[in-house]
């Protein structure tokens, strides 16, 4: 179901170039320049910093009205020169904005001209991505950037036994967990993009203009030689799938899986890993699965039948819905600010297991989500900080997951994935409901 109004009130998606900024941040030694008005860079820096509480430097070609009329080539070239002079990046992502898309600046061509004028700049991988904000959402920008990066940097040679992991937009803690898992499977993994250090940095007295971490260029090059790819992306079309790209270009078999949140999705992920790495699932994760199951049984009575509204990015919502079904919660509204028919059918499939038919909203906004939450008698919300005003209005609790989380610390350190992450979400969700009930009981009972 798409909303009935033409206007969007309280948007449930961010804009395309922001996704590009996030994706490029997962590349080692990278910088991003947005070709457009400086407001875009400033707003997006603020929005990314607000969640990750990290420095986020995004440059701008700072176009003003003259360039809006005559084109922004000169500004873009100057901007690139200035960023390179100060940051000496290994990779420079150049993304467009609605301004430059509307005036029709061909950034690929402008960059090519610049490289003719200044051949020393060829040392830097300048990767253009088209990200018009009047189409799609930040997740489109994210995926398109990953595609652009692979198209430029993946170089086939003799096969290695490595596995490519394209996790999409998950937290820094999630990425660290993936690294751990690959180590335990004794198989080299190439994770792209890797924001685990660049967007969750340290204080050690030293300041680095470009933070350490991110997928290295040599590693990206090697993605074209891996044994297979695993991508947490089932909703988007093949043109936005990194795994599909490598399969068609370099014959690397790809598996597109849901984000491993919830026991079903985790089972599928670990089973796939075992299959492609030819390793048994390590004992540690078997135990974690057992503990998760144990926890699910313990939590069952607090959760069963509770009506939940889950909202956010399409793949994330799909995975969370699966998780909720696994533990006996009833998702009554599953909402995303973008989404497509695949999203709708996947949600239906995953909920069908429990005979549940959630109200599925795509291209929606929080105004609509709020209304449906009220109509369906929801008892809890799961998603970003943006749901806070619905939570307050309806008097129901909100479990903060995903992005953006700007009213708590540690958003970037939330572990959502794997049996361990699923257990974390289970504990937080359950305790949130127990706390609510305890408060409402009024007689101060402390056995719940």
């Amino acid at each position: 179901m798409a909303k009935s109004s033409v206007s969007t009130t309280n948007a449930c998606k961010l804009c395309r170039p922001l996704g590009a900024c996030l994706a490029f941040r997962g590349i080692e030694g990278s910088m991003v320049l947005l070709h457009g008005s400086q407001g875009c860079s400033t707003y997006m820096r603020r929005y990314i910093s607000g969640h990750f509480r990290e420095p986020v430097d995004i440059a701008s070609s700072a176009l003003s009205e003259t360039q809006a009329v005559y084109g922004g080539a000169a500004n873009l070239k100057q901007g690139i020169r200035n960023v390179v002079a100060k940051y000496a990046p290994a990779v420079l992502g150049v993304a467009t904005t609605c301004l430059t898309e509307t005036i029709g600046d061909n950034i690929g061509m402008i960059i090519a001209e610049l490289l003719e004028e200044e051949p020393e700049l060829r040392e830097i991988e300048i990767i253009p991505v088209s990200t018009p904000s009047y189409s799609g959402s930040h997740m489109d920008g994210f995926r398109d950037s990953c595609i652009a990066i692979l198209e430029r940097l993946a170089v086939p040679r003799e096969k290695t036994g490595a596995i490519n992991l394209f996790p999409g937009f998950i937290s820094a803690a999630d990425i660290r967990h993936l690294k751990e898992i690959m180590e335990d499977f004794k198989t080299p993994g190439i994770i792209l993009p890797d924001i685990s250090q660049t967007l969750d940095g340290v204080i050690d007295g030293g300041y680095r203009r470009i933070p350490p971490g991110g997928t290295s260029m040599p590693a990206i090059a090697r993605t074209a030689r891996s044994a297979c790819s695993i991508e947490f992306n089932v909703v988007s079309p093949a043109s936005q799938s990194a795994a599909a790209l490598l399969e068609s270009r370099h014959d690397i078999p790809g598996e597109r899986l849901p984000i491993p949140i919830g026991i079903r999705n985790c089972d599928l992920f670990f089973q796939t890993l075992a299959k492609v790495t030819l390793q048994p699932v390590p004992a540690r994760y078997k135990e974690e699965r057992g503990r998760l199951l144990d926890a699910m049984v313990d939590a069952h009575k607090y959760l069963f039948g509770k009506k939940a509204v889950v909202y956010g990015d399409a793949d994330f919502v799909l995975a969370l819905t699966s998780f909720l079904i696994d533990v006996g919660v009833s998702p009554v509204v599953c909402a995303t600010g973008d989404g497509n028919r695949e999203f709708i059918s996947r949600i239906s499939q995953t909920a069908a297991v429990a005979g549940i038919q959630p109200l599925i909203l795509k291209d929606t906004d929080f105004d609509e989500i709020s209304e449906r939450a009220r109509e369906t008698g929801s008892e809890l919300l799961i998603g970003s900080s943006k749901g806070n005003h619905i939570a307050r209005r309806l008097g129901i609790p909100l479990l903060r997951v995903g992005y953006p989380i700007h009213d708590r610390i540690g958003g970037q350190r939330l572990l959502h994935i794997g049996y361990r992450g699923t257990m974390n979400l289970l504990d937080q969700l359950t305790n949130m409901l127990i706390a609510r009930e305890q408060d409402e009981l009024g007689y101060g009972y402390s056995y719940m």
């Binding site: 400033t42 603020r46 609605c98």
Partner: protein
Amino acid sequence: MAEPGKQLQKLCDLKDKIVESYPAKVGKNRAKHIQVKGCVETPVIDANAKTLPGIITTRGCAFAGAKGVVLGPIKDAVNLVHGPVGCSYYSWLTRRNLARPAEGGKSFLQYCCTTDMQEGDIVFGGEKKLMQAIREVHDILAPEAIIVSATCPVGLIGDDIASVSRQAEEELGVKVFSANCEGYKGVSQSVGHHIACNALMEHVVGTEELEDPTPFDINIFGEYNIGGDLWSIVPMLEQIGYRIVSTYTGDASVHDLARAPQAKLNILMCHRSINYATRMFNDRYGLPWLKVNYVGLEETARSLREMARFFGDEELMEKTEAVIAEEMERITPEIESYRQRLEGKKIMLFVGGSRAHHFQLLSEELGMTVVMAGYEFAHRDDYEGRQVLAGMKKSGISKVVQDIHYELQPGFKPPLSETELEEKNRDLGGHLLDYEGMIPQMKSGAMIVDDLNHHETEIVIRELEPDVFCSGIKDKYVVEKMGVPSRQLHSYDYSGPYTGFDGALTFARDIDMAVSTPTIKFITPPWKNTEADCDA
């Protein structure tokens, strides 16, 4: 301990060092935007210039200045953003202009409304969608006004939002107006402020009568109630005997804004964002403005006294002195404990267009030294004072915003005649309709930087070693990684208010918290790393 002379020389040298760290052309440009008080007796600074592409600036765009700063805080209006989703999303409650609905009134600040333009709208035009969106906002939210703001694509594709707004107003019978504040206009938020002021003057101001005028009616301009700043000074002003007709635009109702012309005095906090409006009020209604500053104990007292002096009323002046005495007695001992802890600490203030000045005297009251101050988007008059306006060459700004000069409104009786106004101004030492700027009050040995960028931030922190760096969220984490405490002075780091007597105490507490935390001391672990591979 270096002698004052040597310290000053170090700073003059530092300016050269910064300039030389750039390629020649850029360095020459930046040299005009960096000054040191004392190296030059009366520093002249370039400001409000084009942003250099690729130099990491903190500046935003005209949309941010218009919708984000001036129009956004109007609580009972809905700001409908005509554009793709990003602009409205990133300005959705990201600025801490607080509001409470009045008794039986409305507030829509928690809403983010946009036409969410899609490719089809860009190609075929979005006017029809805009019209429909306005109708939806009216039907569903029933605001007291609908304000349509433009984003980058709008001007490019030729959507006539003014015409659509007029049509909508006629059809719906509610005030609908627009601001052509496309982000690419101008060089920063600044032109957006001007565009917004023009829109308010044209569509809102004077459209309603003030039913019950009093002799001490005032409007407060350039006060956006960040963190409750307005609510901190209102009780004090009302206790003295003033009645606040409207605030531009913190916690403002569009109806109050409409009734503003019949007040007796406009007091002005943020000169940069809204001096356009105070000037237009003076032209059109003969309503004078007085620059005030409610940040800091002495500054608050001074401002209250000047206001009372303007009115020249005995009782008002007595009540003013009584309030000041009472508040000073209450606050001074509490401030004293912070002053002892903050004595000698070095502070840097890099904010938007007014706070780098407003917070200097408070910082000094707390015993701190301001080693650097600067603005993101201020003009020369904010630095040097309004006397430079006459001599300033006109920038290309006139292409994107009209500098409107109103004639005195026919039939409107100004509160004072011209001679009365001149007399009052003489009595106030020429302070009416004037602003001296940030630089005159600064001490020798302070650096002034316009449009400070990332690269320069690193240098000044390394070289001048401040104890606290007050700026915004985009700098905060950079500075903290360098081991220096940083407090946000746009959002108050979600604290505040900082105005008035209690506000000074809150500021003192927050700065103390930043510099006194034991956390920074843990940077070096017991196993010392010998290799620190950093750029700084």
